[in-house]
Amino acid sequence: MKEFLIKRTLQMIPVLLGLSILIFGLSRIMPGDSIRLKLGPEATAEQIEAFEDSMGLNDPIVIQYVNYIKGVFTGDMGLSLQTDRNVATDIVETFPATFELMLVAMFLAILIGVPLGVISGVKKDKWQDHLTRVVSLSGIALPKFWIAIILQIIFAYWFSLLPVVGRGNIVPTEITGLRLLDSLLTLNFEAFINNLKHIILPSIALSIATMAQIMRLTRSNMLDELHKDYIVASTSYGLPKFMIVYKYMLKNAFASTLTIIGLSFGALLGNAFLVEAVFGWPGMAQYGVQAVIYKDYNAIVGVTLVIGIVFAVTNLIVDILYGFIDPRIKYDK
């Protein structure tokens, strides 16, 4: 287990380094005059030159990259042009919001996607199957920002049930930065309800595509399970169908679904860029979108790197969980 962890962590390093080179390179060939943006339309050429020098933008790109990486290890990800602060500071501030949104969305996706996938698989080619498949495929097929806006119109505009934007206005004492968790830890139920109401719509909008993916995979895994000997055997022992489906088949099916959940985290991160914009969710993805629009070099590199790290770590965690679910997996292999 320990060896496995070390090995996997070491494997992450070249990928992340490669990613940083790729994105860093991309960001430096970006056209446009984003420094002017920061200094204002009336800035003079000398002002811009001086500022570029101070940011090291006139050094050779290799030097710039090496300096950047050195900085990253000391918590300095360069100056953000949008906020005038260290990008690391911005990311630390915005990341918990995105992370919380993703966790809730993933929770919803699993909570709804897995049972629907099970039903769809068990009732293959019956109406339940057709209905769940069409609904979930529609979930994949709909543009995320569209779902987001439609949800707003229905729940906020027509029925005034839920708030439209933002992350809740009652802030619990900060422990983890995840407000739902913090409010529970501090037994601040007012804050919990308030933040829950704010997170419902964005997390639903974010989760729909992932939910559909999980549903599809669970379905096909369940179909595979259906014909496995041990399942036919369980039936012959007279076990209740519910138990066969939700215990004996699901655990096996879920083991394979789990690997997809790791990958879905990527899709979730990508879609967060769309959903956070609509819901004014003060997260890292919205910060990233702004960075792209403002051509904020350092912020783009920083956000992308963090996404790469989150993605890699999630997959590592998923692999570990996989081992807990399926005793056939051995880490030392």
Binding site: A233, Y237, G238, L239, P240, F242, M243, K247, N252, A255
Partner: protein, 335 residues
């Protein structure tokens, strides 16, 4: 012998639909089993023996399968007409089954103990997300699981309970598969070629174990095999199936002494001889089920075929010594 009939399969016909058409997989099979008796169904793979026995437990998915005729009477009730609930009540308790491949018949992600205990606790019951198990039942299940494992002569059952299938040897797993089927001491046990995937020596041990248990507990058993030699060791009577039909039936002993049907002769010839040489075997393949021969289904491969065999289907006829055979060679009352 006046023992009670436990199970009788009457003129069972099962068709399978696929894109190519309708395959008549089981074509009028008659089998019966008395209480306390052990019978074997012998035939090549694909002959329909598995479909026949799985029909008894309602394990054949419909569609693609379709029951077009006949009935399966268990204690005089037609299993084919059972509701899902009745079927589930019957499974495990009245009839249980041992699966062929111990490598795949155990769920890989649960411990042996959990699987055994679930069979004990949940068999025949309804379950939903809110169901709970009381402690007493759990303890009962635990001791029963240990008991059955001990019966199967599994060493250190308490340790085995905590193990996952992947951690055990094939022979051990096969014993556990049998234990699963015996959790409730069923009246009828169906054994689908247990142990074929294992070493011959291990297989022999397991068969001996199985035979002993069945006798001890007074369980009736249907034993599926492609090996007549095994059938002889384990069973009282033997049914030989070919291409969805029973072609010969009789006491295990007498069939070995004198087999009538050319197919049975072929099977006997395929048993490895004591000197180690392989038998002759039978040339050719099982016929196409979509368009089976009008006459005898064995026609193409038969070494003794006659012109009548091509167009007329031979009926299973009674011979004098309680033997039955479906072959035109005997239609005029040979013997």
């Amino acid at each position: 012998m006046m023992s009670k009939v436990l199970l009788s399969i009457e003129d069972l016909k099962v068709h399978f639909t696929s894109y190519e058409g309708t395959a008549k997989i089981i074509n009028g099979v008659n089998i019966h089993l008395n209480e306390g008796e052990v019978i074997s169904i012998v035939g090549e793979s694909g002959c329909g023996k598995s479909v026949t026995v799985r029909s008894i437990l309602g394990l054949v998915p419909t569609p693609p399968a379709k029951y077009v005729g006949g009935e399966i009477l268990f204690e005089n009730r037609n299993i084919l007409k059972f509701t899902k609930d009745e079927m589930q009540k019957m499974r495990g308790q009245d009839i249980s089954m041992i699966f062929q491949d111990p490598m795949t018949a155990l769920n890989p992600v649960f411990t042996i103990g959990e699987q055994l205990m679930d069979v004990y606790m949940w068999k025949g019951k309804k379950r939903n997300i809110l169901s709970r198990v009381n402690k007493k039942l759990k303890q009962e299940a635990y001791s029963r699981a240990i008991e059955v494992l001990e019966k199967m002569r599994i060493p250190d059952p308490t340790a085995i309970m905590k193990r996952y299938p992947v951690e055990l040897s094939g022979g051990m797993r096969q014993r556990i598969v049998i234990a699963m089927a015996l959790m409730h001491t069923p009246k009828l046990l169906i054994a689908d070629e247990p142990g074929t995937a294992l070493d011959v020596s291990v297989q022999d041990q397991i068969l001996i174990e199985l035979k002993r248990l069945v006798k001890e507990e007074g369980i009736s058993m249907i034993f599926i095999t492609h090996n007549l030699g095994v059938a002889r060791i384990i069973s009282d009577r033997v049914y030989v199936m070919y291409a969805g039909e029973v072609v010969e039936e009789g006491d295990a002993k007498t069939i070995f002494e004198e087999s009538y049907h050319p197919y049975t002769n072929g099977l006997l010839a395929s048993i490895p001889k004591l000197d180690g040489s392989m038998g002759d075997g039978i040339d050719g393949r099982i016929p196409n089920f979509l368009n089976p021969p009008v006459g005898c289904r064995f026609y193409d491969r038969c070494t003794e075929r006659k012109s009548v065999c091509k167009d007329t289907r031979p009926d299973l006829i009674n011979l004098l010594n309680k033997r039955k055979v479906a072959c035109h060679l005997y239609s005029e009352g040979r013997n």
